[in-house]
Amino acid sequence: MTAVRLGRSGVTVSPQGLGCAQLGNLYTTLTDAEAADTVAAAWESGIRYFDTAPHYGLGLSERRLGDALRDLPRPSYTVSTKVGRLLVPDPAGAARRDPEGFHVPADHRRVWDFSADGVQRSLEASLVRLGLDRVDVALVHDPEDHQTQALEQAYPALHDLRAQGVVGAIGVGSKQWQVLHRFVTEAELDAVMVAGRYTLLEQPALDTLLPECARRGVSVLNAGVFNSGLLAVDRPHAGLPYEYHDAPAPIVDRVRAIAAVCARHGTSLPAAAIAFAGAHPAVAAVVVGAHDAGQVRRNAALQAAAPPSADLWSELVAEGLLRPDAPVPTRPAGTP
C-alpha cells in the first residue's frame, strides 16, 4: 500500500487503517490473543495505520494495540488516538458492565474535558496505556456538546503540541459532519475523521465538509464506512447494527437494493462500500474495524482489488441509490 500524507504534516497513513474500537470489546468480548491476531493480520495485509481512543473499552483498546505493536518497527506505522474524555478510576463500578456498548467492567468513568490541561493529561495517559513514547495523530473526539471549549482550549493545546513536535498531526473526529465543518473552517487541522457520514448508504458529508477539506488540504480519515456493520455483509438483513443500534426497516430495504445491484455487477456490498469510501479525492484513508483476523484480511483484500466497474455506479445513480455528484472509484490503468 502506498502511504498518503495527512494535510501538510509529515505523518503518513496507509490507504486502509485499522479501526480499533473492536479491540476494546465493542459489542462482543475478544480474548487478548484474538486482539493480537487481529492487529497481526492487519500488519501482514500491509495496513500501517491504527486508530484508537481512550473511550474504546475504557482504555482496553489502547492497551491491546500497544501490546500488539510493541515488537514492530516504530517508524513504519502511524497511530492516532483521541482526547476529550478522561478516564477516572471508579472501583465501585467494577462489578457492572460499561454502559456504552463495550464488554468491559465499568471500573472507570468517562469525564468530558476539552481543557488544555485535560488534553495534556489525556495524551499522557494514552501513552502509558499504549506503551509508546509518542502518538502520531491526536484527534479531538466527539466535541459536539463542547464545541466552544474544544475550539478555545483543546485545539490551541494541540496546536502547541504539534508545533513542539510532540504530535505529528492534529484533527477532530465526530459522527456529525456539521461539527467537523466548523472545526475545519475555524482551526488549522491536518485531518478530520468522519464516522458514518460518507458511506455507500449515505453521503451527507459531500455537501460542504468534503469540498471544504479538499479546498483547504485537510485530509479525511473516513471511518464507519460499513455504517456499524450493515454494509459489511453480502446480503444485509434486519437485526444488523446501524448507528450502534438495530437498523430500521427502510434503511435495511435501501441497503438490500444496493446489494442487489452490486450482485448484478459481479461484486459485493462490502467491496463496493470500501471502494466508494476511498474514492473522494479528500479521503486519505478508509478506517475499517474488525472483530477478527479474517475480517481484517477480507477488508484489506477488498481495497487492494480493482474497484467495481463503472456500470455499477451509474446503475446505483439511475436507481436513486447513490448521489449523482459523488465521486466514484475508477480502475487504475495505464495509457489505453
Binding site: G266, S309, D311, T330, R331, T335, P336
Partner: protein, 283 residues
C-alpha cells in the same frame, strides 16, 4: 489498403480519469474525428479501428459507434465492456442496436487495471469471453507484462475467441535489455496459440518519450515478427496517445523502419491485411 488497427478518440469531459496523471497533460484535451482526418490523409491511411479509450463506461460505445457511422475512414469499433458482466450478451446486443452498431468488431475491457493476477481465470470472466466469441467479436487485451501468462491461459481455454494483444503486451522498452528479457518468455508462450494476433502499436509510449530511437524498438518488433509472423501482426498508431512521444507520421515510419526485411505481401499484411481479416473489415 492501409489500415491503422488502433487509435482513440475522446471528449475530455466524458470521464477519462487516467488522463489526470500529470505527465499526460500534452494529450489532456478532446480528440474528435475532425482531428483524426488530416492525420490519416497525410499518412495515407485508408481505414482505421477505433478502440475504447479507458472511460470504462458503456455510454462511450454509443459515441464511438456514432463517430464510426459519420466518418468514412473508421472501419470498425472496439467498444468497452465488462467480461464479468452477467448481462454481457445483452450489452453487446444493445451496442449493435445503436446507430453505427454494425461497425462493432470487438470488445476491450481495461485488463491492465485488474490487480488480481487470476482475474482472467475467474469462471464468470471465462463465461464472458465465450459470450464475446459467440457474438462473433474479437477481444482486445491491454495488459501489463506480468499479465501475459494469464492471457495465455485464457486464450488456450477459449480457442474459439480471437484475442488481439494490444501494444505487444506493453513491454517496458525504456528498460532496454531488462525489458526485453522479462517479456520474451511470456510473449513466446502466448504467440504459440493460433487464435492470438498482436498489434505493433503503443511502442513509442513504452519507450523513453523524449529520447527514443528506432533502434530501441527493433528488438521487440523483430521478436514479434519471429513469433507471430506478419500474418498475425498489425500496425496501430495508438494516436493520440502516441503524441506523448511521437506524432502520427513519426510513429508509422518508426514501425516501418523497425521491421526486419519483409516481402511486399508481408508488409501489406502488417499494414492492413491482418487487421482486415481479424476484424472482418469489408472491402
Amino acid at each position: 489498403m492501409i489500415v491503422d488497427a488502433h487509435h482513440h478518440l475522446w471528449r475530455i469531459d466524458d470521464g477519462y480519469r487516467w488522463l489526470d496523471e500529470p505527465e499526460l497533460a500534452p494529450i489532456r484535451r478532446s480528440f474528435l474525428p475532425a482531428d483524426l482526418q488530416p492525420e490519416l490523409s497525410a499518412a495515407g491511411v485508408d481505414r482505421t479501428i477505433l478502440v475504447e479509450g479507458g472511460s470504462c463506461d458503456t455510454a462511450e460505445a454509443a459515441i464511438l459507434l456514432r463517430y464510426g457511422s459519420s466518418t468514412a475512414a473508421i472501419g470498425g469499433v472496439v467498444a468497452w465492456a465488462d467480461p464479468a458482466d452477467p448481462a454481457l450478451a445483452d450489452t453487446i446486443a444493445g451496442y449493435r442496436q445503436l446507430p453505427g452498431g454494425d461497425l462493432l468488431v470487438g470488445v476491450r475491457p481495461q485488463l491492465q487495471g485488474e490487480a488480481d493476477p487470476q482475474y482472467l481465470d475467474r469462471p464468470q470472466v471465462r463465461r464472458g469471453l465465450r459470450t464475446i466469441a459467440e457474438a462473433g467479436l474479437a477481444i482486445d487485451v491491454v495488459v501489463r507484462v506480468d499479465q501475459l501468462a494469464a492471457v495465455t491461459r485464457a486464450a488456450r481455454a477459449v480457442p474459439e475467441l480471437g484475442f488481439v494483444l494490444d501494444h505487444l503486451g506493453k513491454p517496458r522498452i525504456r528498460h532496454g535489455a531488462a525489458g526485453l528479457a522479462e517479456w520474451s518468455g511470456p510473449i513466446a508462450e502466448l504467440a504459440a496459440l493460433p487464435n492470438v494476433t498482436a498489434k505493433l502499436s503503443g511502442l513509442v509510449t513504452e519507450a523513453d518519450w523524449k529520447r527514443w530511437r528506432v533502434a530501441d524498438l527493433r528488438p521487440f518488433v523483430g521478436a514479434a515478427v519471429e513469433l507471430f509472423g506478419p500474418e498475425r501482426l498489425m500496425f496501430g498508431s495508438d494516436w493520440p496517445v502516441c503524441r506523448l512521444a511521437a506524432d502520427y507520421g513519426a510513429v508509422m515510419s518508426a514501425v516501418a523502419e523497425a521491421l526486419p526485411p519483409l516481402s511486399a505481401e508481408e508488409r501489406a499484411a502488417v499494414f492492413g491485411g491482418t487487421a482486415a481479416r481479424t476484424y472482418r473489415l469489408g472491402p
